[in-house]
């Protein structure tokens, strides 16, 4: 199969072209024993120690463009699902990878994207053990969609979750917000913007591995679409509490701020792909913050808010001049404003 080839419907037909695509192009990227058997399922021997639990999650990735500064849909499909495991305190072990390919996608591009996915998995010490390939007619997908599911192991005694939230708990964000969302927006051709923007797309396990041993860590969520705004609302709703946020404490990179000023957007609504929000007992917050800042993935971590007894609105932002305003949940698509 020549490298300049494009994928056709035949590659999803189940016949010989599909077998050759898998054998020659895809499987070598994910070389491991569970996959090599090519059964309809991965067969895993996962012995859990006393008190250990399995974590299982799934996510689909439909980003446009497929490649962006700081990553691509392949790396995102790995880190996105890994992070969903990680914020539950789980050490990721296995991933699945299901592809929905629009006919006409260049083979070389598919290989490049899957190589990124494989590389992220390998670096994380995770095996991609099962998968699926479908090719759909032109226009039925946008280049490539990827679904990944993940399995991880939660250590004994580890139980982060929103059920542990209570008033006075502090909230720490692990780094500047909005990098991924701003990068993707700037990639949109019709906006014709460029700038010093890079997606924060990253596997958070190395950071969380350090945090799990800290006392007082109560809950974590990775910040993805909907931005920090969405996670704040999730925390507030789950705990039936309100959250007070200090606007001045929020870490935002200058170029992300620039983009927001230019397009009339709020950095709190922009997606991240390598940030988490941690809830921690007030007395343990400073120590956890120092631990996080000691890791490259948490260098710019900051305490941004506090859980408080329920007020009229779930999330309240204290602005630069000390005036409070409610931070409503994100409504609809992010669109640039002129007014």
């Amino acid at each position: 199969m020549p490298a300049d080839k494009r994928l056709t419907l035949a590659h999803g037909s189940g016949g010989e072209p599909m077998q050759r695509l898998l054998q020659e192009q895809i499987l070598p990227l994910f070389d491991n024993a569970a996959l090599a058997g090519l059964e309809d399922q991965a067969r895993l021997s996962l012995a859990l120690g006393p008190g250990e639990r399995l974590a299982f999650t799934s996510d689909s990735f439909v980003v446009t463009p497929l490649r962006f500064p700081g990553g691509n849909i392949g790396s995102l499909a790995a880190t996105g699902t890994l992070n969903d495991l990680v914020v539950g305190g789980a050490r990721p072990r296995y991933l699945s990878c299901a592809l929905i390919i629009e006919e006409g996608l260049p083979l070389a591009l598919l290989r490049e994207l899957l190589a990124s996915l494989a590389e992220e998995a390998r670096t994380a010490g995770v095996q991609v053990v099962t998968g699926d390939t479908k090719v759909v007619p032109k226009g039925a997908a946008d280049g490539l969609f990827i679904n990944t599911s993940g399995i991880g192991v939660i250590g004994a005694g580890i139980d982060p979750g929103t059920h542990r939230l209570h008033p006075d708990v502090k909230l720490i964000v692990s780094g500047p917000v909005g990098d991924h969302g701003a990068t993707i927006l700037a990639c949109r051709r019709e906006l014709a913007l460029s700038g010093d923007l890079t997606s924060d797309c990253a596997n958070l396990w190395p950071l969380v591995d350090k945090m799990l041993s800290e006392p007082g860590l109560l809950a974590m969520r990775d910040v993805t679409r909907g931005g920090l705004n969405a996670v704040l609302h999730e925390f507030a709703a789950a705990a039936n509490l309100s959250i007070e946020i200090d606007e001045a404490a929020l870490p935002v990179r200058p170029a992300v701020r620039g983009l927001c000023e230019l397009l009339g957007l709020d950095p709190l609504q922009l997606a991240c792909e390598g940030r988490l929000l941690a809830a921690v007992e007030a007395g343990a917050a400073d120590r956890l913050l120092q631990q996080m800042r000691g890791h490259p993935l948490g260098e710019q971590a900051a305490i941004v808010g506090t859980l408080v007894p329920r007020r009229t609105t779930p999330v309240i932002l204290r602005g630069l001049y000390g005036v409070e305003r409610s931070l409503p949940p994100v409504s609809g698509e992010l669109l640039p404003r002129i007014c």
Binding site: E190, L263, G319, L320
Partner: protein
């Protein structure tokens, strides 16, 4: 960001707040608060975003004006845009603000979900670029906005004419700032004591559209920038005029705006557009000579020609809708019987709930916490 951060400095803001309080204390006592109308939706947005209204003394309050092009966009224009987007081989482009506005049969975003060609662009030049790249499609730009936004559309049309781009069209709903202000001020019940003038409209128009306010109605006007320091300085300047019982047009936004405005930009507007006999405003009805349409030499670019049915349907507003009273300073948004119940940003019933710059949407978004509290 240069020319932004300096004008948000909390220390400077603190100083201004004190000075405003001191000036307000010298004003003659009266039972009603002094009401200052910010004409521009951009000002409304900044006031709520930074909580500037909460920094003013109790005897001074902001009233939110009609200067939000999205809020005043009648449903009929959206319906026309939707109809155009549903034509075969047509791409309807506009600003992000415009595609959300509901028409009678849904918004442009709804139309896109149903398969229509709708694209959000940053400016008209990007729509022009789309027309160049897609010679087989009609690219229609929905042009909304006040005098600030009109030059960009004029420049794009001049370029299209020069290049002979036949597939670029404009659905024009550009409006002027003076007519709605005149309509407001002619209300004998109006209680506004002074006006914060729209700094970015003034970049183009200069101060002329506001001269009638002190001349005919003896109310002071200060043309203001958009950062907290700008707005508070403008409030202070208005209070000083009120203190001295003066009424004139002053410029606060001197780093960019001028009395004369931008003649080149106005020349482009004058070449490409002409005043329309009457233009429909959501909430205000039809106002004579309040909008722009394509001049005869540019009619070939008028997207309205592509429509099979062009008769504009007058906007119908719920009789309980309080928008008119909010606009004239007689009512605060949460007092309206529809506010937050039948009328929300997700399903707006009145114009002021449509865009985040509208007074009601801004209240809903930022003030739910205190919707029933102060004032």
């Amino acid at each position: 960001m240069k020319y932004v951060d300096e004008f948000r400095d909390p220390q400077v803001v603190q100083r201004m707040v004190c000075e405003i309080a001191a000036t307000a204390a010298r004003l003659p006592p009266r039972s009603q608060p002094w009401q200052l109308m910010e004409v521009c939706g951009g000002h409304t947005h900044a006031i709520f975003r930074f909580g500037l209204d909460r920094l003013l003394p109790d005897c001074v309050e902001f009233v939110h004006g009609p200067g939000c092009p999205v809020c005043v966009l009648p449903e009929s224009v959206i319906d026309q845009a939707v109809a155009l987007s549903q034509r075969p081989d047509t791409l309807l482009c506009s600003y992000g603000d415009a595609v959300r506005v509901p028409g009678t049969g849904g918004s442009l975003l709804d139309a896109r979900a149903d398969g229509a060609g709708v694209e959000v662009v940053y400016g008209p030049r990007d729509a022009l670029e789309l027309a160049r790249r897609r010679p087989a499609s009609d690219v229609v730009f929905l042009a909304i906005g006040f005098e600030t936004t009109a030059p960009a559309t004029a420049l794009a049309l001049q370029t299209a004419r020069r290049e002979g781009l036949r597939n670029f069209r404009v659905l024009c709903h550009l409006v002027l700032i003076e007519p709605p202000l005149r309509a407001l001020l002619s209300d004998p019940e109006l209680r506004i004591d002074g006006f914060l003038g729209p700094g970015h409209v003034s970049l183009v128009t200069g101060t002329r559209p506001f001269d009638f306010i002190p001349a005919e109605y003896r109310r002071p006007v200060v043309i203001s920038g958009f950062e907290p320091v700008d707005l508070l300085q403008s409030v202070w300047m208005l209070l000083r005029q009120l203190e001295q019982d003066e009424a004139r047009v002053e410029l606060q936004y001197r780093r960019a705006a001028s009395t004369a405005g931008n003649r080149t930009a106005r020349a482009a507007i004058d070449e490409v557009f002409e005043p329309a006999p009457a233009t429909e405003w959501r909430g205000l009805g039809a106002l004579p000579h309040s909008g722009l349409r394509l001049a005869p030499e540019y009619r070939a670019f008028d997207a309205a020609e592509l429509l099979t049915c062009t008769a504009p349907v007058p906007a119908e507003t719920d009789p309980r809708c309080g928008c008119a009273k909010v606009l004239s300073g007689h009512m605060k948004p949460p007092v309206c019987p529809l506010f937050g119940r039948e009328c929300t940003p997700a399903s707006p019933r009145g114009p002021l709930m449509v865009s985040s710059e509208g007074a009601c949407a801004a209240w809903y978004q930022y003030r739910q916490e205190t919707a029933d509290a102060r004032r």
